[in-house]
Subunit: 349 residues, 2 copies
DNA sequence: CCCACTAATGTAAACGTTTACAAACGTCGG
DNA sequence: CCGACGTTTGTAAACGTTTACATTAGTGGG
């Protein structure tokens, strides 16, 4: 007997089910008197519409899926907060998928939309071969997808996106280290198959090149976006001779690992090694020393991404017209935040 | 034309829709020849069952909701990892609800189950007045709910749960500080409306009492489970005279805030102030100094909670029989992990 | 008082599955 | 060759909504 159905409410109120349905969805279409009767019947039965039936009938679940590398990273937590906020406002729930655990392949994720389990997708992780052919084959309509944080992959170029200018930001961060007098600067990034890492690497190389500095082999290592990954990456970096005097970590999470590893190796920060992070997570400012980093407006990114996705979903199939106008990427501002993990190098080159 | 329906597949394969359905759900019931035909038709049309229709028909979404204070806390991230792992294994997706943002009231959450949007609930946050009357009124069946991490609230006593022995753990942690020679020990907890905080407080008081120590007024402050909250809490603690020589934080997250605030106030840790955390998150060991804390098997808790919920869901309505056998709480082991944020007090009392 | 027009309500089909039941088909022992 | 039984397939109802369309009630002008 779980929960009452519309039929019972209709019977009790002495009206047809259509009227009850109208009462629920557009009360202004039902007369005052009837409204009262229906209201009473609903109160009496404790009726709640069966969401499953509604979703089925309407062909919409009001659920969107967000795909990201790891929910554990505090930066993504911030983005999620923004997503969740505007999702709540607009009546959507969100389903999370972490690529880190390879729980699903890109095709499976796409299948969730095709099979109508989900109304759209937010991609915060570059899934490069996003089975786009598969998708367009499976469904004639374009999938509602929006890309966030990441630079959009070529195959996804048609989709809207919102992110900071990763190459400019990385370039500025590196330039700052250079301006402090550093010449040997290492970089700890994620896997190079990630476009985001590639962009930040491009920015790093660009700044180095502009200063006429070379990027020696072994100066760029993969820290796997994790603390542990950054710890081993840092060990590799410190084993180099001459070793870098500064390290640009493409993520605060990795900067934390790097900080720990460097200190474990007996170095003091920033005297012996300068550290630059990225993201300005809540941990950055409570580290010791507080991390110099690049801040991104995480929550704002989340909000904009979700809002854009809602628009995509709601405008439904008919896209056509001024596609490009809507599909342009939104670039949100980044900012270098200076704290205490960077100082001029002690040993002169 | 989004995605093909079972009808089209049936037509192309030259069979009835029932046969196609059987092919999908219990292929052993259809003959070899037919299987081939259907398989071909599916391949040709790219058929994917409409999940909405399936859910509607079966009355199950295979989605469960988990309610927690904040997904950002690394401890919960660990629990979520466990939940997600076993959810994936068993074919469930998970919907997250953070109470921190008050996106939904307890009643609304319950309504999601009643209205069939969700098959069950995992409560990692104590929602004390969980509108249980409302629930049992709305639906005659018991809701599939399982409680994790938290001590279960009296109204939820009937539901299964899995958590560490919070009072014992807090007691051990405090006893360790006492054993190091501390006499004035402060505690930074969450809101006292949280049962978890209350349990850990009870453990703290118990250890103090056993050592014949008094808990002075002002020694227990609310750190709001956040870094910022802990920072102000610490300031209040340090303003006391005489000030505590050690602080027990009921969360590593708050211990991090406490560490930062103490250091900002010019104290060195652990020489001037000892710090004990709780949870052993991934940040604990990379802090400087590394945090002494109490570890909980986060992932294991998640796995067990989810597995229990699956059992609840799958056994469906008919509970009866040996209810209590299943409904007992599972206590998972905790462990004190000794690192470097605790030392004997410098100033002798 | 009737007609026309609007507002309110009812009827019934449709959405894509699953599944109880009935029907058809094979196979095999007699 | 027949009947019985097991296997495979088909038929049709059901799940709880929404909604196009038909119908009825209500309103006001002529």
């Amino acid at each position: 007997m779980s929960s009452a159905s519309i039929k019972q409410v209709a019977r009790i109120a002495g009206v047809s089910i259509a009227t009850v349905s109208r009462f629920m969805n557009s009360p202004e279409k039902v007369s005052e008197k009837t409204r009262e009767k229906v209201q009473a019947a609903i109160a009496q039965t404790g009726y709640t519409p069966n969401t499953l039936a509604q979703s089925f009938r309407r062909g919409r679940t009001n659920i969107v899926m967000v795909v990201l590398p790891s929910i554990g990273d505090p930066f993504f937590t911030g983005v999620m907060r923004g997503i969740r906020r505007t999702a709540a406002e607009r009546g959507y729930s969100i389903l999370i998928n972490e690529t880190q655990f390879n729980t699903m392949t890109a095709d499976e994720i796409a299948a969730m939309v095709v099979s109508r389990q989900t109304d759209g997708i937010i991609l915060l992780a570059s899934m490069s071969p996003f089975g786009n052919e598969v998708l367009s084959a499976k469904s004639h309509r374009a999938l509602p997808i929006v890309v966030g944080c990441e630079t959009v992959a070529p195959e996804l170029a048609a989709y809207p996106s919102v992110h900071v200018d990763n190459v400019a930001a990385a370039s500025e961060a590196t330039a700052y280290l250079i301006a402090q007098g550093h010449r040997r600067i290492g970089m700890i990034g994620g896997s190079t198959s990630s476009l985001l890492t590639r962009d930040r690497e491009a920015g790093y190389r660009q700044a180095m090149a502009q200063a006429g500095l070379e990027v020696a082999s072994g100066w760029m290592v993969n820290g796997d976006l994790s603390i542990d990954g950054a710890i081993s990456a840092t060990r590799r970096l410190l084993a180099l001779t001459p070793r870098p005097t500064a390290v640009f970590c493409t993520t605060d999470e990795m900067a934390i690992g790097c900080l720990h590893a460097a200190r474990s190796a007996g170095l003091s920060i920033p005297q012996d090694l300068s550290l630059m992070g990225f993201d300005d997570t809540r941990y950055a400012r409570v580290m010791s020393p507080p991390l110099t980093t690049v801040s991104q407006p995480a929550q704002e990114i989340g909000e904009q991404v979700m809002a854009t996705l809602c628009a995509e979903i709601e405008r439904g199939r008919p896209a056509a017209a001024s596609e490009d106008a809507e599909n342009r990427s939104v670039i949100v501002p980044h900012q270098l935040v200076l704290r205490e993990s960077v100082a001029p190098p002690a040993d002169q080159v």
